[in-house]
Amino acid sequence: MVGDVVVRLEHARRTFGDVVGLADLSLQAPKGSVTVLLGPNGSGKTTAVRTITGALRPDTGRVEVFGVDPDVDGEAVRRRCGVVSAKPALYDRLSGRDNLRYAAELWHMGDDAPIDASAARFGIDEALDLRVGGYSTGMKTRLALARAILHDPDLLLLDEPTSGLDPESSHAVLRLIDEMAADGKTVVMCTHLLLEAEGLADQVVMLEQGRDLIAGPPDELVARYWPNPRVLVDAENRVSLDAVATMDGVLAFERNGGGATVDLDDACRVPDLVTALAARGVRLTRVVPHEPSLEELYFAVRERGVR
């Protein structure tokens, strides 16, 4: 997966008057990877995307995309980028087809641009000759997606692409990301919806107030915050689970509404733990290894600070 670096931001800073869009952002997106920018509203995700395409120039710091400074040769960079912004940015008075044709012509694709194929990929082909003003939010996002991939971009930038979408449209977005990554394209996606980033991200960059808090593959980040194996256990009588707290190899024990969470020094302890509980007459109903989600990681970073 990891190859050349397609996107490189080094200490990028961008202010808008008194408002700081990016305070000090550094990130790298390797070729063929999916990088997810996580962060609350106002954390600088959109400004980061705009800086990557060269639509915004950083006040200080360095930006390099495809080995080029987008401020020096923005046209070369933007020709290879596809962007889906938070709002679909479509021309409501034009038909879907005219919107796609406009993009095809701006990207110098000529008359044989795959307009119908691109629309069909997102199930919007039948509405292509209707005015975009009459489209639903989901249809607009699908059209914006079709427009973003029309020129087969090497770098796809998605800014909150699933916000306000129905499950079907959200699924279309996530499937696109998967397919793009499988085709060796580079994807950078901004979101504050952690569930949708789950399983997609090769790399997570967590932003807060225009800074990168932490960055890395999700597994590595999880290991940083949860270095020990964690198991979720439950029993018919949950009070009986308290016996786990004093067993060998148990580093932490917490009973909660869903049973108990147990941190062990080694995953090999699990069979011993089950045997010991059974010997004490505890009737277990669930023993599952727990892999913390991005959501848990996100809150762990915010609560426990950067590690």
């Binding site: 915004l56 933007r78 940015a89 701006l106 427009r147």
Partner: protein, 276 residues
């Protein structure tokens, strides 16, 4: 594979959007119809056919403001004929200025701020189009509707004038040489200068309403200057008009060359301050 200039692509898409908006072009069409057809037809027909000497005399007194050269050029077999000739040639001249400026200014004022307001500026900002291509595309799209309406309206106006006034002055006489100069030498650069300023405003303000208001302030003095010149009041006509047109062309070229600096991607995204 055939590719088109991005400037032309942007202009054509802007024009296509205008065409799809009858709420925009219908009032413009009515405006052009009023100025080029309804008002001239009504007035000229009334003067040449009603034979009311008091009315003709009253209208004729308004022609005293014309310079001597203009007065000397007035033809006609009768007071009504001379009055209608003067009206057709001199007093309706501002129509040729007001119509294109009104239409083009309305289009131009929204051209860039509209992208910002609708959020489509984000698309353009991330596109490979350069700032100059965006600027020129918007300029062409603003210029064409006004100028084409004027040229077509001018043709219809010429026909009406010749049909109504012609028999009173010895045949078809319109357009006169001054009108040719006005339409094809004076009006285009004035229009371009106005649009350069209007597009600069459109790129910098935060709303379409603000752009329209600011554009009105710019357009009004230019309409007055162009009108004064077109009627021969300001600097006389003939060679002076050609000289004024030449100066206006130079100013227009300079404005066009400088104007693209007003378009920045940050402004298309709506994140740059409104400082003028």
């Amino acid at each position: 594979m055939r590719t088109r200039s991005r400037t032309w692509v942007i202009a054509r898409t802007e024009l296509r959007q205008l065409r799809q908006s009858p709420d925009f072009w219908l009032p413009m069409l009515i405006l052009a119809g009023l100025f080029f057809v309804v008002i001239p037809t009504f007035l000229l027909f009334a003067i040449t056919h009603v034979h009311n000497d008091a009315v003709v005399a009253k209208v004729a007194t308004t022609l005293d403001v014309l310079p001597a050269r203009a007065k000397a050029a007035i033809h006609g077999f009768s007071p009504a004929g001379r009055t209608s000739y003067a009206l057709a040639v001199y007093l309706f001249a501002p129509l040729a200025v007001i119509v294109p400026m009104t239409i083009s200014t309305a289009v131009g004022a929204n051209a860039l701020v509209g992208e910002k307001e609708r959020g489509t500026g984000e698309f353009l900002a991330h596109s490979p189009a350069t700032e100059r291509e965006i600027y020129l595309g918007k300029l062409i799209a603003s210029l064409l509707p006004g100028y084409l309406t004027t040229i077509i309206g001018f043709g219809i106006y010429a026909l009406i004038v010749n049909l109504i006034v012609g028999p009173q002055v010895g045949g078809w006489f319109f357009p006169t040489s001054d009108w040719w100069v006005l339409m094809f030498w004076v009006v285009p650069p004035f229009l371009a200068i106005t649009l350069c300023v209007v597009l600069r405003l459109s790129a910098r303000v935060r709303s379409g309403a603000a752009a329209q208001q600011a554009s009105g302030l710019v357009t009004l003095p230019l309409i007055i200057v162009a009108y004064a010149q077109s009627s021969g009041v300001l600097l006389g006509a003939g060679s002076t008009a050609i000289a004024l047109g030449a100066v206006a062309w130079m100013a227009a070229v300079w404005g066009l060359w400088r104007g693209s600096g007003a378009v920045t991607r940050a402004r298309l995204l709506g994140v740059e301050g409104p400082a003028l």
